[in-house]
C-alpha cells in the first residue's frame, strides 16, 4: 500500500489558466482525489452590478472572461434587449457576428497553444499568443481597446466599423488561414502530442450532458449541439457554417473514442476554420444601415428604466454556454444579474470527477483542454 500525499497545483502555475488552484491527493503518480480551490479572483461583479445603472454595467461584464470578453457584452446586451423588447438593426447583428467570431478565433488560439504548451510544445503557445495579437490589433482599430472592448452594448453596437475594417480583417484572415497547416504540423501531427493526448482526460459521452458540459467539449464527446444553431442570435441564422463534432473530424484522423484531449483540440482547430468562413460571409453579406436602436441615447441613460421581468440569454462562447440571467423590478438598476460561466461546471465538477485515477502529469493538459477559465467561476 502506497502512502497518500497531497499536492497543490496553482494558484500560480503554468498548468492552470489563471488564478485558481487544485488540491490533489495522490498515491505514487496516480491522483486519488481532487478539489478545486477558488477565491483568488473574486471581484464581486454581480454585487456591483446591482448598484449601477443598466449601461454602466457594460464595462463591468466584459471583465468576467479575460480571453474572450465579447461574449459577456453580447449576452448581457441580449438579456437587456429582451426585457426592453428591442429588435436590433440588421447591420448590428452582422457586426456582432464578426466581433464574436474574432473573439472565438483569438480564444481558440490561446486554448490550442495552451494545450500544446502543457504537453511540452512551447513554440505553439508563443505562436498562438503572437497570432492572437493580429486579431487584437483589429479590435483596437474597431473598438479602441485591445482586450476589453465595450463595443457590443444594449441596442446594437457602439459605433459602425471603420471604413478600412473589411480590408484589415480579410488580410488577417488570409494570414491565419495560411498559418493553420503550420499549427497542424506543429501540434496535431506531432508524435509527442499524439502520445500524450489520445485517450487522455476522457469526459464520458453518456455523462457529458448530465454533467452540464457544453461547447467544444460537448461536441468532442459526440454531440452536434451548438447554441448558434439551437437558438440563433446575432446573424447566425443567415450564415452557412458547419458545426464540427466527433467523429466528423474533417482532415484530422479519428484516433480515439472521442472526448479526449486530442479530439477537443481537433474540434477547436476545425472551429477556427469555421470562424474564418463565418467572418468572410458576414463581411460579404453585411447590409448598410444603422448600428444602434434609436431608443439608446447617451443623454437618457440615467433615467433609463427597464420593464420588470426575468430574462435569460445565452451565447455559444469558445468555452461553452455563456449565459446571463437578468432580473428587473422596473427600476433604474438590475435587481440581480447572475452569470453562468462554462468553466463553473468544467473546472469544478467535471475536473474533480475525471481526475480520479489520472496520472499527475496528465492533469494540467486536461484542465487546459477543457478550457477552464477561472474568472468566470468567481466573477
Amino acid at each position: 500500500m502506497m502512502k497518500e500525499y497531497e499536492l497543490f497545483i496553482g494558484p500560480n502555475h503554468p498548468g492552470v489558466t489563471g488564478n485558481m488552484s487544485y488540491h490533489l491527493w495522490a498515491e505514487g503518480d496516480k491522483i486519488t482525489r481532487a478539489e478545486t480551490r477558488v477565491g483568488y479572483l473574486h471581484r464581486g461583479f454581480e454585487k456591483l452590478m446591482e448598484k449601477r445603472i443598466w449601461m454602466q454595467n457594460v464595462p463591468l461584464v466584459c471583465r468576467i472572461c479575460v480571453p474572450e470578453p465579447d461574449v459577456n457584452e453580447a449576452a448581457y446586451s441580449m438579456a437587456v434587449e429582451d426585457l426592453m423588447g428591442w429588435e436590433i438593426p440588421e447591420r448590428a447583428k452582422y457586426i456582432r457576428t464578426i466581433i464574436l467570431e474574432m473573439a472565438r478565433l483569438s480564444a481558440h488560439l490561446l486554448a490550442v497553444g495552451g494545450v500544446a504548451a502543457a504537453l511540452g510544445i512551447y513554440t505553439a503557445a508563443q505562436w498562438g499568443i503572437g497570432d492572437r495579437d493580429y486579431l487584437l490589433d483589429i479590435f483596437e482599430q474597431i473598438t479602441g481597446a485591445r482586450v476589453y472592448h465595450i463595443y457590443i452594448w444594449p441596442g446594437g453596437v457602439r459605433w459602425d466599423l471603420p471604413k478600412n475594417a473589411k480590408e484589415l480583417i480579410l488580410k488577417v484572415l488570409d494570414y491565419l488561414e495560411k498559418r493553420m497547416p503550420l499549427y497542424d504540423d506543429l501540434i496535431m501531427h506531432n508524435k509527442v502530442f499524439l502520445r500524450r493526448s489520445v485517450g487522455v482526460g476522457i469526459v464520458p459521452k453518456d455523462k457529458a450532458i448530465e454533467w452540464g458540459v457544453t461547447g467544444p467539449n460537448l461536441r468532442a464527446a459526440g454531440y452536434q449541439l451548438d447554441f448558434r444553431r439551437l437558438e440563433p442570435y446575432a446573424a447566425y441564422d443567415k450564415i452557412d457554417f458547419e458545426v464540427p463534432y466527433y467523429p466528423k473530424l474533417g482532415d484530422y484522423e479519428v484516433l480515439s473514442d472521442g472526448s479526449d484531449i486530442y479530439t477537443r483540440t481537433a474540434i477547436r482547430m476545425l472551429e477556427m476554420q469555421q470562424s474564418i468562413r463565418i467572418i468572410r460571409q458576414a463581411l460579404k453579406d453585411m447590409p448598410e444601415g444603422d448600428v444602434l436602436v434609436k431608443e439608446n441615447k447617451a443623454n437618457k441613460w440615467f433615467g433609463w428604466k427597464v420593464p420588470a421581468g426575468y430574462a435569460y440569454s445565452r451565447v455559444e462562447s469558445s468555452k461553452g454556454e455563456f449565459g446571463y440571467f437578468v432580473v428587473s423590478d422596473g427600476g433604474k438598476k438590475p435587481v440581480r444579474v447572475h452569470v453562468r460561466g462554462p468553466s463553473y461546471t468544467h473546472g469544478i465538477n467535471v475536473m474533480e470527477t475525471i481526475a480520479r485515477g489520472m496520472n499527475i502529469a496528465d492533469f494540467s493538459p486536461t484542465a487546459i483542454s477543457l478550457d477552464v477559465c477561472p474568472p468566470d467561476i468567481e466573477r
Partner: protein, 152 residues
C-alpha cells in the same frame, strides 16, 4: 413532453423561455420530471434577494436540447434561514451552485456535505450578496480607518 404539458400553469415569457412557480416541497419532483422528459441540461441555479417581501427566490434553470426550450423553476423561501433540500443527486453541478448560494446568501441546503468555505475565506460577516449587506459601508469601516500610532 414539453414543460407546458407537464405544468399547466407555466408562464411563457417569450419564445423558448418558460417560467414555473412552485412550492418548496415540489422542487425535487419537478426537477426529476423535467429531467425524464427531455430537459436534460441543468443550466444553473440562481438566487434572487427580494428584501421587501422578505423572500429569497431560487431559480433552477433547465434546458431541453430536444424542444429548444429553457425552463426556469422558481421557488420562494423565507429570508430568515429557511432550509431547502439539496438536489445534488440529480445533477452533480447543483452541488457547486448550492455551495455558492450558501456562502453568498446564507441559504442552507440540507443534504449537501460540502457547504463550507468556497470562494470567501475566513468570512465572519453577513453573506455579502444579501441586499442588506452594504458594500460601501463595509469597505469604509474596514479600510478607511487609519490605525492610531502607538507611541511607547
Amino acid at each position: 413532453m414539453k414543460a407546458k404539458e407537464l405544468f399547466p400553469d407555466a408562464q411563457e415569457l417569450r419564445k423558448g423561455r418558460v417560467r414555473i412557480e412552485l412550492d418548496k416541497e415540489q422542487i425535487t419532483d419537478a426537477l426529476k420530471k423535467l429531467k425524464e422528459n427531455g430537459y436534460t441540461h441543468f443550466v444553473m441555479l440562481s438566487c434572487v434577494d427580494w428584501i421587501k417581501e422578505g423572500k429569497f427566490e431560487l431559480v433552477y434553470h433547465m434546458w431541453s436540447y430536444e424542444y429548444k426550450e429553457h425552463v426556469m423553476l422558481s421557488v420562494k423561501i423565507n429570508r430568515d434561514g429557511e432550509d431547502v433540500v439539496s438536489n445534488r443527486e440529480l445533477f452533480p453541478q447543483i452541488e457547486t451552485y448550492e455551495r455558492e448560494i450558501h456562502e453568498m446568501f446564507g441559504v442552507n441546503f440540507v443534504g449537501n456535505p460540502r457547504l463550507g468555505e468556497f470562494i470567501l475565506e475566513g468570512w465572519p460577516h453577513m453573506p455579502p450578496m444579501r441586499k442588506d449587506f452594504d458594500t460601501e459601508k463595509f469597505v469604509k469601516d474596514l479600510y478607511y480607518k487609519i490605525p492610531e500610532v502607538n507611541e511607547e
